[in-house]
Symmetry: C2
Subunit: 105 residues, 2 copies
């Protein structure tokens, strides 16, 4: 059985936001994004893939189609295909997110 | 922005495991499964869709292709297309899972 514990499979990087892949196929990928304070994934779009962000730790700030919200653990955000979306850690604490995108672009 | 807080969007049901949908498109769905003690999703397979389970609360028992593991919060399980998979709450406490499947079958 393919199992990953997120706490043991999510590394941070000083240089930029770290993406830790858990599972992947042509149909989807599942990553853990780790953001040190000040790190971000710039706003971008995927024409034909949906993304879900789930906050595990911290209070990152999401942007989807120009709307911004800072959200704590337990919140899930929907970034549908074609939407301009990104996430920035503007807090003083680390942030970790479970991220699923389908299909893999 | 489409946001759901999992703790405010996950109901349990006495009759059977409850599926609470957060987001859905033809490319994926994202649900919260809520299992009272003794409830289960029977083992089944999807020929062309992958599933990821992420444990939010509790210690449910997963089965994938005949292998079984009980896993606590922070664990993610991969049930790829074609695999025989299911989950049972054999513990005495409630279990909640974030579940993503792609594509939606």
């Amino acid at each position: 059985m393919h199992v990953h514990h997120v706490g043991r499979h999510s590394d941070f990087a000083a240089a930029k936001m770290a993406k830790n892949n858990l599972f992947e196929s042509e149909r989807m990928f599942c990553d853990v994004y780790c953001l040190e304070p000040g790190q971000a994934q710039r706003v971008h779009a995927h024409a034909a893939s949906d993304k879900v962000y789930y906050v595990i730790e911290g209070a990152p700030t999401f942007e989807v189609d120009g709307e911004r919200q800072s959200l704590g653990p337990g919140n899930a955000v929907w970034a549908p295909a074609g939407s301009d979306h990104g996430v920035a850690n503007e807090s003083g604490d680390r942030a970790r997110l479970l991220v699923v995108m389908a299909p893999r672009p």
